[in-house]
């Protein structure tokens, strides 16, 4: 079966394993030579791909829930959509959510995901109190900040390379309202946009769209979206996708000209102002379209997401915009966000500074562009998000993830035969 991540690049033929009980999963892990666990395949690149892949989706049980302590213990294959639908009945919510509700708890931990509140609340992993991990020999290990600490710090953000997360216990937050007051502020250029982030950093949710098309008159214009929970009591409703892209668009549908047009339209239609939007629309705008990734055509796209320390932000972002222009490339769904402090999980992505994510259709030219951008990012102390990556080199990775040696050491201790590996971990040399 041909399978790929959300970016539909790369595609590989894979043996997909589905097992229906912990016991079966255990005997499968024991007998296999090489596997990577996966969930809803929303990571973009090749981090959840391998020749044999183990689905965690049947691990979808809620094992414990305390309204009083605001904690839940659930298995790793449960989706955020299912979880939020459950929690909302109690006026609670997951503490951190990515841009789609179609991710699993296991994926959220393995990617140590961040959301629009990262600058205030940190990553999903910072809310995890403990987890149970099935390691290469089939045994199940309890990990937390007090028990098997090394494995805990390696597994959160560890891209599934330490073992299969069976279940996890994490803190929940109160859901104040299902209605978000969204303030949009247009920024005339990059400098203005970065300032707006600083001015609004007390707000819980901030994110911005950035126009990657530059001209002499506009350089890094964008729109900052600030979200605030309201007091309005209304039921939280998560919708299923309303539109389905039934087939691939021709690969050049989203080209430089159409993206420029879309960017202009986007800026035009997102005037400064305040409005009330639903929780679903504010956090998951793209979930409305099922299979939106098909819009980039058969050859797929890469999502290039990096973060750079704050002090270098303006300089690096300017360079990045200029390089994109030099390559005559463009990105439509470009997201810029101010992140908070880094945490201690070994392979966690965020660090204090700005993160930029852009979608670029795959071509030899765009892969070239990405390599060029890598040079700038690592020169200024930045790094790429493993969950999005499909192409960076081992050299770039090692230079930017300073805890990698420690991670490999811990992995080798619990997975001596390197059973848990992905296409990405092979490319990046994450093994002893």
């Amino acid at each position: 079966m041909l399978i790929s991540g959300w970016g539909r690049y790369p595609k590989i033929s894979s043996n997909i394993q589905e097992h229906w009980s912990i016991n079966q999963v255990q005997s499968y892990i024991k007998q296999s030579d090489e596997i990577i666990p996966f969930g809803l395949l929303r990571s973009y690149g090749d981090s959840a791909l391998n020749s044999t892949m183990l689905s965690a989706l049947s691990l979808n049980k809620i094992l414990d829930f305390s309204f009083e302590h605001k904690t839940i213990t659930c298995e790793s294959g449960i989706s955020f959509k299912e979880l939020i639908n459950f929690l909302t009945k109690f006026g609670l919510n997951v503490p951190v959510t990515p841009g789609t509700k179609f991710v699993t708890v296991g994926g959220a931990i393995a990617s140590d995901i961040h959301g629009k509140n990262h600058h205030i609340h940190g990553t999903f992993g910072s809310f995890v109190e403990s987890l149970r991990l099935m390691i290469a020999d089939g045994s199940i290990i309890n990990c937390s900040k007090t028990e098997n600490t090394d494995l805990f710090y390696a597994t959160i953000g560890g891209m599934g390379l330490t073992g299969l997360i069976i279940d996890a216990t994490f803190k929940l937050v109160e859901l104040k309202s299902a209605i978000i007051e969204q303030t949009s502020i247009q920024a005339k250029d990059l400098k203005h946009l970065l300032e707006l982030f600083e001015q609004n950093k007390e707000s819980t949710y901030t994110v911005s769209w950035l126009d990657t098309n530059i001209t002499s008159r506009k350089f890094g214009r964008g729109v900052l979206f600030v979200g605030k929970e309201t007091d309005e009591k209304r039921e939280l409703v998560l919708n299923d996708p309303k539109i389905n892209l039934p087939c691939n668009f021709p690969s050049n549908t989203l080209n430089k000209s159409t993206i420029t047009l879309l960017n202009n339209l986007y800026y035009f239609f997102n005037k400064s102002g305040v409005k009330q939007v639903s929780f679903d629309k504010f956090f998951y705008p793209l979930d409305v379209i099922n299979n939106w990734n098909r819009g980039y055509g058969r050859s797929g796209f890469i999502q290039y997401q990096f973060v750079i320390p704050k002090e270098n932000s303006y300089k690096v972002l300017s360079k990045v915009l200029n390089i994109i222009a030099d390559y005559r490339q463009s990105s439509f769904l470009t997201v810029l966000k101010l992140m908070g402090k880094a945490n201690d999980y070994l392979l966690s992505f965020p660090l204090e500074g700005f993160t930029l994510a852009m979608d670029i259709p795959v071509s030899s030219k765009s892969l070239d562009l990405a390599n060029k951008l890598d040079e700038v990012i690592i020169e200024y102390g930045g790094r790429l998000y493993l969950t999005k990556d499909a192409r960076m080199t081992k050299e770039v990775f090692i230079k930017s993830y300073s805890n990698i040696e420690k991670f490999i050491e811990i992995k080798a201790k619990f997975d001596p035969n390197n059973k848990f590996q992905s296409l990405q971990s092979k490319r990046l040399g994450i093994r002893l």
């Binding site: 009980s21 016991n23 049980k61 809620i62 094992l63």
Partner: protein
């Protein structure tokens, strides 16, 4: 009103797992019976948290008479619904050579279910209420070379349920025979079948629940198998012998 009680024997089978959630949603107290108590533990915790219902777990190894006996002795309730969701496809080729495998197929799919069927038929006949749901198979309609050990055991179960239905009719107890067609489950994951003929455990479970609500005698799911079933039954033997499915 006290909530109704549903007993599911073979609760970790794929159809049963779906059925459990439908009955849970409808407020039933659930008694789950299976060999693997650790699996039942996961499922019952989830059910209690999500639906706020009472769930009880019971151990039963259907291959072992002592275990069956022990279960009947410890289970002191009179449920409103009993579901037999026990099945073992086995390996046909192995069963042709090996009596142990053949016996295992026959025992799990038919013989060892009888003491349980007897027990619940007798108490329901006395209390004059309840529903017995037996999951048999479309494979029990006509023996085929691909799976006639399994098919013949299921045929016996189908006939047993038919007789039981007639017997319990006057007591007001309904017996439902479920004949699933091909369903993508752990039991059949290695077989290749055209997608149009494939059912999902979810859909079959929903058909079963609807059949229960409507007091049906037979439930065939997915619906395409009503048609397939008719053809299989009507095909003259001379032609049937030459078919390769």
């Amino acid at each position: 009103m006290t909530p109704k009680r549903c007993l599911i024997i073979g609760a970790t089978s794929d159809i049963a797992k779906e059925l459990i959630y439908i009955f849970a949603k409808n407020g039933f107290i659930l008694d789950l019976v299976a060999r693997r108590l650790d699996e039942l533990d996961r499922i019952s915790k989830d059910l209690k948290i999500r639906f706020g219902i009472d769930v009880f777990n019971f151990h039963l190894n259907i291959e072992d008479y002592q275990s069956i006996d022990a279960f009947i002795k410890t289970y002191n309730y009179i449920p409103n619904v009993v579901i037999f969701a026990i099945g073992y496809l086995g390996i046909q080729k192995k069963a042709e050579q090996n009596w142990e495998e053949a016996k295992k197929i026959i025992d799990i799919n038919y013989t060892n279910q009888i003491p349980l069927l007897n027990h619940f038929a007798n108490i329901m006949e006395q209390t004059k209420r309840g529903t017995i749901i037996g999951i048999s198979s479309i494979a029990g309609e006509r023996g085929r070379k691909a799976n006639y050990f399994y098919g013949s055991a299921k045929a016996a179960l189908t006939q047993h349920l038919s007789g039981l239905r007639q017997r319990l009719h006057s007591a007001g107890v309904n017996v439902i025979t479920v004949k699933p067609g091909f369903i993508r489950t752990k039991m059949t994951k290695n077989l290749s079948v055209p997608t149009i003929m494939e059912g999902t455990p979810q859909k079959v479970a929903l058909s079963i629940y609807n059949g229960y609500k409507k007091n049906k005698s037979n439930v065939i799911a997915p619906p395409i198998y009503k048609f397939v079933n008719l053809i299989i039954k009507l095909l003259p033997e001379k032609i049937f012998q030459k078919i390769k499915f």
